[in-house]
Amino acid sequence: DVKVTQSSRYLVKRTGEKVFLECVQDMDHENMFWYRQDPGLGLRLIYFSYDVKMKEKGDIPEGYSVSREKKERFSLILESASTNQTSMYLCASSSLARSTEAFFGQGTRLTVV
């Protein structure tokens, strides 16, 4: 069974902290994505990656960075967490051959206080 695993289901961090959200997939997928989801705003793409060490900005990259040192792992980094980054964060992956069929993790509910 295919799996995308996010390191934490719930996370509480303080303003100004550096936060790492980790995502691992076991499907050998080339594409990986980070989204945030807020009520009334749908899913918004933060960053995506189509290969190791490759990254592309999505619609809302400000305040975030990413790292993809290995094919199976895609990390989202909040350099200095702020309260407006309180949100649900979702990681997804897909293959190059079937890019539109993405598999999602369960999400990380991040609260910044």
């Binding site: 594409n31 899913l43 793409l45 189509y50 997804a92 190059l96 069929e101 369960q106």
Partner: protein, 114 residues
């Protein structure tokens, strides 16, 4: 990337057939139409994809007219467990060269009423 437009919300009674229409006027020749379903507190789940005419699987049917400028997701005889947000996406299936951006909109919130 082709932009999509779908209703924000829909209500339906249990046992009815539900049709959710998505408009994508600028769809490109190589684009496929893909639908996802998202239950509360879960990530979205791929449910169906098509290029033209009709596609059916165990979950839903997808109807695509000849001009491909719209598509309709059909859920037969919905139950309370079909209450979810449904997203329509348009894009190339095989991104080949990479740099593929999977963009979701706000989706359609379907509420099934007993």
């Amino acid at each position: 990337l082709a932009k999509t437009t779908q209703p924000i919300s829909m209500d339906s009674y249990e046992g009815q057939e539900v049709n959710i229409t998505c408009s994508h006027n600028n769809i490109a020749t190589n684009d496929y139409i893909t639908w996802y379903q998202q239950f509360p507190s879960q990530g979205p789940r791929f449910i169906i994809q098509g290029y033209k005419t009709k596609v059916t699987n165990e979950v839903a049917s997808l109807f695509i007219p000849a001009d491909r400028k719209s598509s309709t997701l059909s859920l037969p005889r919905v139950s309370l467990s079909d209450t979810a947000v449904y997203y329509c996406l348009v894009g190339e299936v095989a991104s080949g060269a990479g740099s593929y951006q999977l963009t979701f909109g706000k989706g359609t919130k379907l509420s099934v009423i007993p």
